[in-house]
Symmetry: D2
Subunit: 147 residues, 4 copies
């Protein structure tokens, strides 16, 4: 599995759970949104400064696998990384863990583009990524499955 | 209790519930947001057309009382009305019922202002409200409690 | 593209949108949750009755492609269908359209299992699906891409 | 204004904002939910341990005043405290600040009860509160307004 670039912590709240007694599938994706915002800042894509320039990191595709459920009060860790860079798009990877029992709960990847709005024009990924994240450029074809 | 101007229906989804087995307190307020959007259209405040003019109906205050819990799959009715009109502000009222057993689940009122953005200038309520909703103008002081 | 089994309507609310001026990626998935609940009822999987028996339709995997953005006040249609049935799992398909301009906004599929909780035992899909939805049984391998 | 018992931090995410360019009124209440969970732990009411005993801190009433809007990327602070203790109920207080400009954005108070479920029996507040928070016991009648 890829080495994460950042780790973020999350404590499961009542509003994350549902009447089935576990965390609702949508809640994991909201938790991942927070991780992605932090990852973006680390990658040179800070949302506030970008928005002031009319630039937005847009989600094109999400793939998410729900493996084990989290429960109320669990302390989770989200690991996040840059997985693969294409000419005008890039993939981010995420996994949600419960450190206490080393469970892998959720894996996710998202295909992104940086867009100039309102022109709706795609922006090239930051040039310094090639030097900083060479592994994300060497891969051929679609990113490998998380399986 | 005031006569509602509109009624909207809602079926409780898994994502509305929490691990306590009942609807989460935030979910009722999202249900009320939908009802308020429909009520606004009925009152001459359609959100899309207003937003195109840079006008927004802004919530200044919410008071909500949680009386009985709703559960997964319940079919709820939200009743909504214009409660009181002030010079630059107005109060809307809401109650959530479960018709099957006539339970009153939630009562809520919200103080609103129509604002011109980005000037941040309050707009007078629509002039035709006085003829259409005379009861909302006759009241003195704060709106009466829902108790 | 597959023929939908049901169509559900949705009007975009303020809380669905974000500061980029379009519907947030998570909001489409909440809209799809509502469609899936209705689709489940049509397929013989009503959430309330199932939950009373300790049975839950669980999302194992979501794939979602965001193609065109929806905006405040848009009237959307969600089309939903049973895509493919495996021995203990099944795939549901969804697409979100804006009928006014025939835009295809979002496509999504979800791999599901019906589970008996707390035993955590997978349940076979309903036996009558084979007669009702023969197309969902004839497919080999993974479901075809939405591309 | 009352002295807060705890302070929690929050960075505004895209999903907190709406097409009006500011944080949506519901998002502040979700932010307050997180603060209340932390405040509960501090007050001897940890949600996970309580839920395992069939005990839940239930919101009976929320009053919230929206004073100034927060925006994408803002770093907010939520201050939280125990405001007033009644025989079987208690009030919590919250305010949301943006430290950079000392703006008071939102004030909120919530009337709570600790309930034993499924018996639906109210529980007395923790006995040690009287010694720890004498100010919350000395007040007569309803809590004073935040104005």
């Amino acid at each position: 599995m890829p080495e994460p670039l950042i780790r973020t912590n999350y404590e499961v709240m009542f509003f994350d759970t549902d009447a089935g007694g576990v965390v609702h599938n949508l809640a994991y994706l909201r938790i991942i949104e927070v991780a992605r915002t932090r990852l973006g800042a680390e990658l040179g894509l800070p949302v506030k400064e970008m928005a002031e320039r009319g630039e937005f990191s847009v989600v094109l595709r999400t793939e998410v696998d729900y493996r084990q459920p989290a429960r109320l009060g669990d302390h989770l860790v989200v690991e996040s990384w840059l997985e693969k860079v294409e000419r005008l798009r890039f993939w981010l990877g995420f996994r949600i863990l419960r450190p206490g029992d080393t469970s892998l709960l959720v894996t996710c990847r998202q295909r992104m583009a940086n867009m100039k709005i309102p022109e709706n024009r795609p922006l090239r990924p930051p040039v310094n990524w090639r030097a900083q994240f060479p592994d994300a450029f060497s891969k051929e074809g679609a990113p490998s499955s998380h399986e």
